[in-house]
Symmetry: C2
Subunit: 158 residues, 2 copies
């Protein structure tokens, strides 16, 4: 297989207005990734890629992230079966963020069991109390995390 080479970032014009792929990785070598459902447009999750994950994702057409908690490449769905098939991959103006439009086998993307990781909303507007009460927008889990992940440690960090 041909090895993909990212372009060096030479000018704002090149980065914003050309067809060069010249992504910017942050001080930890990561680029943020927004993943949406290709059919519904719903945001499923937000993750990160390092350079290797970025190149592998392009080559195989399935989402590979970099797990910050496990400090390793993370081929999404390899444990749960909920692989993300990429229908389209986009990069933003200054090339420091990636957008994946995916189809998910099984329809769920969230380790808690919901379809989207964003299953709760925040009320907007002047508040009558100091405490914000989140609202569950998804009422039911799509799968039982215990059955799917077994004793795998929960990735959420406090």
């Amino acid at each position: 297989m041909v090895k993909i080479i990212f372009k060096k970032r030479k000018s704002v014009k090149q980065v914003e207005e050309s067809t060069d792929l010249a992504p910017k990785f942050d001080e930890n070598g990561l680029i943020p990734v927004v993943t949406t459902d290709h059919s519904s447009g719903e945001v499923l999750m937000q993750g990160y890629m390092n350079e290797e994950a970025f190149k592998k994702t392009i080559e195989i057409g399935e989402a590979i992230y970099y797990s910050r908690s496990r400090k390793t490449l993370w081929h999404k769905g390899k444990t749960s079966g909920l692989v993300q098939i990429i229908k389209e991959m986009r990069i933003d103006d200054d090339q420091d963020c990636v957008w994946l439009k995916v189809d998910v086998n099984g329809g769920a993307s969230c380790h808690v069991g919901y379809r989207s990781c964003f299953y709760r909303s925040i009320p907007i507007g002047p508040q009558s109390d100091t405490d914000i009460i989140l609202k569950f927008e998804e009422k039911e889990k799509v799968f039982d995390p215990k059955k799917v992940y077994g004793n795998t440690p929960n990735p959420t960090k406090l």
Copy 2:
């Protein structure tokens, strides 16, 4: 106005399964924000908020980010007129990412002049060349950045 107080992060269960708003800010005091168009579902941009921007956004119902390049709060659209009116605000499972569904006055969100910042796609699959050629998915700019921003410095950093 009542001062919003975020909850302390006490347990994985509280963060993932309760109605407490207990967001996690990174080592720079920031939380990533994904912004989509409320009608089309298109991802418009990805930015960051600090605690102050987060609370102000909730209170006024318009998107306020933290600009990493200018190191200041950034009420999106105050220069360009392209204010983002929030229709819905969501937080993800481990509360380290925010999703804004917005209506944009003028329909554009990208300082380069396009509707979305993600106006170019990356070809997927085994590559025949080391160089990736991006494809422009938006053919025409919605506005002329020179007319809108004048001599304001371009925020893109190399």
